[in-house]
Amino acid sequence: MKKLQILGTGCAKCNALTEAVRRAAAEIGPDHEIEKVTDLRQIMSFGVMTTPALVVDGKVAVAGKVPTHDEIKVLIGANA
């Protein structure tokens, strides 16, 4: 069960990333916990400066842009 966190304060790109992650995760399997983090202090605790960002199991996978559907699947699937 992977924990996927999307860091962002609520702009259009952050929502786009959330949607894209949901779609990609649904394709891989049902065991994903998806959480949207909007609290600034929590976002900064990951050391991220550019939102939106995707955190997989506690590690920052991508920051500052919305990756393609396939790229997200790799990012979610690659961390064993």
Binding site: G8, T9, G10, C11, K13, C14, L40, R41, I43, M44, S45, F46, G47, V48, M49, T50, T51, P52, V60, V62, A63, G64, K65
Partner: protein, 364 residues
């Protein structure tokens, strides 16, 4: 012994494969460069012929008369629209690639610990090329400040990044010529440097919310630098993102400009926005500060004001006030800055913009 031989042969084959792959990759690069050059050539040929194309469209294809108001307006629109859009695509693509060389983490490393003055100049310049989205203004601010970038230097960056952007520059260049674009660039940088420097001198560090400093400095993103295909992807992504967002505004702006070009009499605006109305500059800035718009959205207004007699300094001041400062931005910054610092920030930048407005009304 046998294994040795096998090993060596295997290694030899791997080496041959690797070198052939590099050759293929090198070949791929050559193909891509040729493709890029071909696209550029096509772009240039079309670009040069746009005025003839526009004329042909307005008067040969469509039944307008030369010299008529509508004909002039249509020709203006037919010329300016593809011209500006083509410029936008080219420049946004190029800047998108340049931005892959300047991540926020790298910018932060360059700026951290710098003295003022030098830091302010660097920050303002880096603001142009570092990728910046207004939603990440706050994380960026916190990231900079906690990593040792002086407060004033951070502010120089925060002023320059949204204001001096390639969309504004391209639009100004495409619609008003390179002199206006250069003016905007130079004055934008000057304001970013000066206001950051002033705020640094005011020593307002204690007006930053305390919790910001309690955040440990993150390591920043440790992504490996992208390959060239990734950089080109970033360029095309940028075109799709940015041009996709603003093209309608651009066309609207040009349509407004076309209407004015054809119909509104000259000097219509001169009476209350011309050089002689001394209060027009502060008024323009006052009106512009709370407004929020991206660079493309404010161009229609700029078009109408400039085209009919408003003074250049006043119009530039208005444009800068709209883009650089806004009520939404004040609200966002309030999360990390105490009210006094937000007010000082806005006040200093607004003052700088007003001064620039006066300066150019005086010079032009």
């Amino acid at each position: 012994m046998e294994n040795d031989l096998l090993d060596r042969r295997c290694r030899g084959r791997v080496r041959a494969l690797k070198s052939s792959r590099t050759f293929a990759a090198g070949g791929g690069l050559v193909v891509r460069l040729l493709l890029g050059a071909a696209l550029l050539a096509v772009w240039w040929t079309v670009y040069r012929r746009l005025d003839t194309l526009a004329e042909w469209l307005a008067y040969s294809v469509l039944p307008f008369e030369r010299g008529s108001h509508l004909g002039a307006a249509v020709e203006f629109f037919a010329y300016e629209s593809p011209k500006v859009l083509m410029l936008l695509v080219l420049v946004v693509f190029a800047v998108g690639i340049v931005r892959t060389f300047f991540t926020p983490a790298r910018t932060r490393r360059i700026l951290s610990g710098r003295s003022e003055s030098v830091g302010n100049v660097l920050a303002a310049l880096l603001g142009i090329v570092t990728p910046f989205c207004s939603c990440s203004a706050v994380p960026l601010f916190i990231g900079f400040v906690t990593a040792g970038v002086p407060l004033g230097v951070t502010f120089s960056f925060l002023v320059s990044a949204p204001m001096v952007n390639e969309v504004a520059l391209v639009l100004l260049f495409g619609m008003f010529g390179w002199k206006v674009a250069l003016l905007y660039l130079a004055t934008g940088l000057a304001i970013a440097i000066a206001s950051g420097w002033v705020i640094g001198k005011l020593k307002m560090e204690r007006h930053v919310e305390e919790w910001v400093f309690e955040i440990p400095a993150g390591a920043g993103e440790s992504e490996a630098p992208p390959a060239w295909s990734g950089r080109i992807r970033a360029g095309t992504d940028a075109v799709r993102d940015i041009v996709g967002k603003v093209w309608l505004y651009v066309l609207a702006g040009i349509a407004v400009g076309a209407g004015i070009h054809g119909y509104v009499p000259e000097n219509f605006m001169a009476s209350f926005m011309g050089r002689d109305a001394w209060w027009s500059v502060p008024l323009a800035v006052l009106v512009g500060v709370p407004m929020y718009s991206n660079a493309a959205g404010v161009i229609p207004v700029v078009q109408s004001l400039l085209g009919k007699g408003a003074a250049l300094g006043t119009v530039l001041a208005f444009m800068m006030a709209v883009i650089a400062l806004s009520l939404p931005e004040a609200i966002i910054l309030r999360k990390v800055l105490k009210p006094r610092l937000v007010a000082t920030f806005f006040g200093v930048v607004a003052l700088g913009i007003i001064l620039i407005g006066y300066l150019f009304n005086f010079l032009m």
